[in-house]
Structure formats: C-alpha cells, structure tokens
C-alpha cells in the first residue's frame, strides 16, 4: 500500500514537472528562437498591402471567382470554401454519387470559363478539393489553361502572363520532392499590381 501511494505521489509530481518542462519551457524556447531568427515565417508569412493591411498569407489559399483572376482549386473548408479557421477536405470517397456530381459540374464550369472544347480533358487538380481546403497552389497545366483567359480579360499578352506565372511558380524540393505549383494568391496580387 505504501509503495502504491509512493508511486502515486511520484506520478503526480512527474506529471507536473513534465508539463512545466514540455508544455512551458520547451514551446517558449522554440518561440523565442523562432521570433528572433524567422519572424516572418513564425507569424504566418503574412502579405500586407501598401497601407499595411493584411491581405492574406503567402501559404494560405483564397477564393477567386472573377474572370480577371486565376482561380484556385475547389475547397471544402468551411461552408463557403477557403475558410482558414476551418481547414479540411471533402472526405468523399471514390464511389460517392455526391462527389461525382460535383466533379461533373466543375468540369463543365471549367470548360466554359476557359473556352475548352468537350474533347479536352480538364486538369485533375482544377476539379477536386484539396485536403486542407486551403491549398495555395494549382498545377502548372491548370495555370497554363487559365493564363489564356486572364491575358484576354486583362488585355495582356500571353507572354506577359506566362512570365508572371513563372515568377510565382514554387518548384519541387531539390527538383524532385513533391511537385511544383503556381501560387494563386501571390500571382493574382502581382497581376493587380502590374495593372496599377
């Protein structure tokens, strides 16, 4: 009995000590280093406009629907998509009727927006929701198709848009880890800044 009570006391003290070290000391140490060395990243890689107003994060996607902009992937985050306080995917499975209907709608809308013939297949990332619902990127194929539309609406030459696109393409890690993608938010910001 004594050993049981003794162990219980040790367990309580150990919990408190470890909570102080791993839940107090440790995160604060990481915080201090992070804020000292990488303040931009540690605070969310935020993008501010000329007035200092936060317009988003370089890492977090935003919804765009107007023809003047590149469009991001469909999003299942929150009720209206791209809700950065409610990340998540659709979690619809491969035999889901609902997912099939959504994809059918999106394929038709994408073709209509970009003047694609029925025979051309649509880039897969353009009609599927991402895992986080906040994917900041679209694939290069998807961006190339949209570039023609954006150039036409904005009265730019295709090569002007392609140059911007290349500048906002984030390459695969060391050229082979993961996959390259075009950052939709920073690209659209650059398009607007160029227009001014």
């Amino acid at each position: 009995m004594n050993s049981l009570l003794g162990s219980l006391r040790t367990a309580v003290v150990a919990t408190l000590v470890l909570a102080a070290v791993t839940g107090g000391l440790y995160p604060v140490l990481v915080w201090a280093i992070a804020q000292g060395v990488f303040p931009q990243q540690a605070n969310g890689s935020l993008i501010r406009d000329a007035d200092g107003v936060v317009r988003g994060s370089r890492l977090i996607g935003q919804g765009f629907t107007s023809e003047r902009y590149f469009h991001p992937r469909p999003s299942a985050a929150g009720a209206n998509g791209y809700d950065a306080s409610s990340s998540g995917g659709s979690n619809l499975g491969p035999t889901s009727q609902k997912l099939r209907d959504l994809i059918q709608e999106r394929v038709a809308a994408y073709r209509a927006e970009n003047g694609m013939p029925e025979t051309n297949s649509v880039p897969a990332d353009a009609v599927t929701a991402s895992a986080s619902g906040l994917d900041p990127h679209i694939s290069l194929a998807n961006a190339r198709i949209q570039a023609a539309r954006v150039a036409r609406v904005r009265g730019l030459t295709p090569s002007q848009v392609e140059t911007l696109m290349a500048a906002h393409t984030e390459s695969a890690g060391f050229g082979f880890l993961g996959q390259p993608g075009v950052n939709v938010l920073t690209l659209n910001l650059a398009l607007d800044q160029g227009a001014r």
């Binding site: 040790t10 935020l46 659709s90 619809l92 099939r100 880039p123 880890l177």
Partner: protein, 598 residues
C-alpha cells in the same frame, strides 16, 4: 511512378538506412542510466534535480510489476490532468479566441487519445482548442506517451539481454531520460527547422485578412428571436451577403508539430493536420516530417541488436519491416496514380486521384506519407485517406491492422514486432520439434500465451466495435459515405483507435457521445491491454537463464528468419481481417470499376 517519385523514395530509404545506426547508438546511451551523451553538461543537472523532486533513486531498479504499476499510474494521472485542463479551457489563459470548454465526452476522448499516443482527432483543432490546451494539455502527452513507449521497448529488450535477473530498469529514469536527452533536444532543432520553412510559432490571436476578392454567399435570414425564417415551402429564407475577410490561424504550432512527428503522435494542431499549409508548408518540410516519423523507431531495431549482442538480428527485424513497407508504398502509390475511372469518364485528366490531396505534395508524396504514418502508429496525414481510391485506402488500413509493426510507433513498434518474433520462433519450434528459443531464452507456454493475448485483444477490439457500430443507429449516424465505403469508415476508425494510430477516414462524424466513448475504450484496450501482457512477458523472460546457442538453435537472423517473421505477421493479419476487408475496400474497388455509385 514517375522518375522523381522513384528518386524521392530512394532518397527516403537511403537516409533512413543511414540514420538507423547513429540513432540506435544514441538510444543505447539514453536508455542506460549511466550512459553519457554530449548534452550531459546542460541536461545532467536538470535530470538530477528532477529525480530529487520526484523522490526517485535512479540506481534502484524495478521488477516488472513495479515498473508496470508506475507506468499505469503515470498514464492515469496524466489522463486526468489533461481531462481537467480541457474541461476548464474557458477559464485558462492563452485563449485569445475565447474558445469554450470541451464537452465531457470530447474531453474524455481527447485525454485518452493523447495519453495512449493515439491522437485521434474528434476535436477540430483550430476551432476547438486554445493555445494553452494545445501547448500544455496535449504536448505533455506527445512527450510522455512517446517516452513511455520507448521505455517499455527498453525494458523488453533488457529482459532478453539479461540472464537470470529480476529487474527491468526504473520506469521514472527511462521516462525522464527519454524526454530530456532524446525527445526534447531533437524537437527543439526540428521545430526551428519547421519554422524556417514557414510554420508558425507565436501567441497572437488569429489574424483577420482582408480578402482580395470578396466572396458572394447566401446568408440565412433570422427573425428577432434569432430563429431561421422559413418560406411557405418550409425552406430557410436567405439573402445575399459577402464574405470579405479570412481568419488565419495562429499559435504555438511548430513546437507541437515537431514532437507530434518524432513521437509518432500525429495529432494535428489544425483540423487538416499535416495537409494544412502552415503545418506542412512545402515538399521539403514534408520529406523531413516523413523521415522524422520513422527515425526513432528505426533506430530502436539497431538498439535491439546491439543490446542483445546480435546485430544481425536487429537488421533482420528491420529488413522484415522494410519489405512490408516497400510493398505498401508501391501498392498505395500505384492505386492513387491510377486514379478513379468514374471521374476520368467525366473528362478529368488521367493524372491520378487528386481529391483530398495537395498540389505541393502530389500523388506520390501523399501515398508515401499515408503508408508511413500508418506503418508507424503516427496518424498525421498530409492527404485525406477517406478520399483515396478503394485499394489506395486499403493499404493504410491494413498497415494499422497488421499491428503497426512496420517500424511502428516509437517503442510500440518494437515491442509489437517482438510479439510476432516470439510467435514466429514458437512456430519454428513446432515445425522442427524442439523447444523454441529466442536469443538463448526458452519460449514456453506462458510467453506464447502473453503474445497471443496481445494479438487477440487488438483483433477483438477492432472487429467487435466495428460490428457493433455497423448495426447500431449511433454507428451509422456519423457516416459521410454510403455503401461499402461507409463500412470502411467505421472499420478504419476502430482500427485506428485500437492501433493507437489516430489517422481517420475523416468523413466519419465521430464527435458524438457514443463514438467518443467507444473509441476511447478501443484506444485504452489497444494501449494498456497490450502493454500489460508485454510487461508480463518481459518479467518472465528476464528471469530465464540465457543458454548459449547450439547446433539446433533456430537462428533469428538471415533469410529464413525474415521469411518466417514476414509469414507470421501477414498470416495473423490476413486471417483476422481479410473477411471484413473484402466487404469494405475490396468490394468497393470492383464496384468502382463497374461505375457503381452510392
């Protein structure tokens, strides 16, 4: 698989192989109370002080009962501690979003989930938990449950390495040394690296960003009492509105994510876990996170070989794991790259299955991550397993059901595979008609009984709870998908809980009293009903005298042993789970080929 996918896979396997020995050697220093590490000048005084506060004499060893009792009491107290913090969330500091307390069943589920190293997420991360809850209530267990797992693995290895002894080490010493000398320093370096890649680490309230293009939406109209106004047809009346700001999550994320990976915990800071752009900003952070899931578990196989004086045995166990791992990755990547014929018929390019995956990772890094996170009992996800193809989703599910013995959770993977080693040696003994021996220790009825108990408990918990949920209204109420995929959602949930994995077919709405409670019981069974027989096994093995190998001893290294171990793991897994897998993902695969929808 594309050339770049092959390169990524080769680099992963290469780096893992290179890391195994140094990590294993370091583990040897950490798990030896008199071991020296290069961190001694900084941490030794802290270690001594901690023992003094705890009232622990580091040179006093415990037998298996004392060791297990200390471990169980510590887990119980930690679980209660977290439960109380979560229930009191509203009154605690560092809660800039003014989030309320968790409900009884959600707090219970979450406390159990973190105590058992499962990190099942019934809670929603950014929308449910304050900075205090994440940083103190959860991170404590990210460290402690990982250290506990390594401690048990250490005790079990000692039981084999020692001859005719009584004690297995001191739980408190193993716990403190694993936390201070192993997990903390690795986590600090790793967390700072993650911040450099874009992960957040701050204590600010969530940031409001002014959207570049406001989103038009339909808002439900409410009357003065705050009730929704209905039209004549009974539908809610809506008016046009706009969303013009985006609320961006902030908080102490990097410190939590580093240990979440190293300790194979897997509980996400955000709901989307490692798919969230903050929680996994780019392909490099993704690659290092994957490597960190396997790092300690892989090193433990080297530690096993070194401590038992049979390095070939350590590598043979590692090799067996790698065969299962490579097969899993290739199968999953193949299925995901093949994509969904139903969607391709609608005009979607045949680029693989993109639903629930992020562009920066692509198909292969998502399939690789899914296989790693379920081979180990991590459970972090960088893509949504629920949206995988039927066969692509089968791989992570079967990985969990095999007992997460492919590297496995830190410590848990090693003691899990050693159960199968005992069974394999026993089967070999039956075949040749000799008393089975494992590294000089006779394997007798008691040891085999304990090993079988572990296998039976996991099977019973997974299949029993799945069957119950599948025929109950509470079980079916949470489904996000119909047809065989619905069954797979339930099966995955109880496999993940019992296996202490924590990943999910996340469409399942598991934050209900019935699911929270049944899943918590499954997590407790999967953790502690496994640990107690394993400690009993260690207690029995340590007392046996080591006999030197003779001509008739079955060698526990080399090709024959690897094949036998492989066969044992697969046979047990297949016999237990093939029938239910046939009703879930297998039948869904064939229906998918026929274009059948639900």
């Amino acid at each position: 698989m594309t050339p770049s996918a092959w390169m990524e896979f080769a680099l992963f396997l290469g780096l893992l192989t290179v890391l195994t020995k140094p990590v294993g050697l370091y583990l040897g220093q950490v798990l030896d109370p008199r071991g020296r590490t290069w961190l001694d000048p900084v941490l030794k005084p802290l270690e001594r002080l901690t023992y003094r506060v705890l009232g622990v004499r580091p040179d006093q060893e415990q037998d298996w009962k004392q060791y297990t009792l200390a471990l169980l009491l510590f887990s119980l107290v930690g679980c209660l501690f977290t439960y109380i913090l979560l229930r009191c969330q509203a009154w605690l500091p560092l809660n800039p979003q003014a989030l309320g307390a968790l409900s009884e069943h959600l707090a219970f589920n979450t406390a159990v989930s973190f105590t058992t190293n499962t990190n099942w997420q019934s809670y929603g991360g950014e929308g449910t938990l304050s900075y205090w809850s994440q940083m103190v209530a959860l991170v404590l267990h990210n460290f402690a449950s990982a250290a506990t797992g390594i401690a048990i693995a250490g005790a079990l290895v000692r039981s084999v390495a020692r001859s005719a002894a009584k004690t297995l080490g001191n739980f408190w010493v193993d716990l403190i040394r694993c936390t201070y000398f192993l997990l903390l320093p690795f986590s600090v370096v790793f967390a700072v690296f993650l911040v450099s890649q874009g992960m957040i680490q701050n204590f600010q309230p969530y940031t409001k960003a002014k959207l570049m293009e406001p989103i038009p939406i339909q808002v439900p109209v409410v009357n003065e009492q705050g009730e929704a106004v209905l039209d004549a047809a009974g539908k809610a009346v809506t008016r046009p509105g706009t969303v013009d700001e985006q609320v961006i999550v902030q908080g102490p994320m990097a410190s939590q994510v580093a240990i979440k990976m190293l300790g194979t915990n897997g509980g996400g800071y955000a709901n989307a876990n490692a798919a969230h752009p903050f929680e996994n900003p780019n392909p490099l952070s993704n690659f290092v996170q994957m490597l960190s899931i396997f790092a300690l578990g892989s090193g433990l196989t080297y530690y096993l070989g070194r401590e038992t004086g049979n390095q070939a045995h350590g590598w043979s166990v590692w090799g067996t794991m790698m065969i299962l791992f490579v097969a899993g990755v290739l199968a999953c990547a193949w299925a995901e790259a093949r994509g969904n014929p139903i969607h391709q018929a609608l005009g979607v390019a045949a680029e693989g299955n993109w639903e629930g995956k992020e562009v920066r990772f692509g198909i292969f890094s998502s399939a690789l991550f899914a296989t790693i996170t379920t081979a180990a009992s991590c459970g972090a996800v960088n893509s949504m397993h629920d949206s995988f193809t039927a066969l692509g989703g089968l791989v992570p599910l079967f990985n969990i059901q095999l007992g997460e013995v492919v590297i496995g959770g830190v410590g848990a993977g090693l003691y899990g595979i050693l159960v199968f080693v005992v069974l394999a040696v026993f089967i070999a003994g039956l075949m040749v008609g000799r008393t089975p021996e494992y590294l000089g220790k006779k394997i007798q009825a008691y040891e085999v009984k304990m090993a079988m108990l572990v296998v039976l408990v996991t099977t019973l918990s997974i299949l029993g709870f799945t069957a119950w949920a599948a025929i109950s209204p509470w079980g079916l109420a949470g489904l996000n998908n119909a047809g065989p995929h619905g069954l797979t959602e339930i099966l995955y949930a109880f496999s993940s809980a019992t296996g202490n994995n924590g990943s999910a077919f996340a469409g399942l709405s598991a934050n209900t009293p019935a699911y929270n409670l049944t899943l918590a019981v499954a997590m407790l069974a999967g953790r502690f009903l496994m640990i107690v027989p394993i400690m009993a096994l260690a207690g029995s093995l340590v007392q046996k005298k080591s006999s030197p190998p003779s001509a008739g001893t079955f060698p526990v290294s080399g090709g024959t042993f690897v094949l036998l171990l492989l066969g044992t793991v697969l046979l047990v897994g297949a016999l237990n789970f093939l029938p239910v897998l046939a009703l879930g993902p297998v039948v869904e695969h064939f229906l998918n080929l026929q274009g059948q929808l639900f």
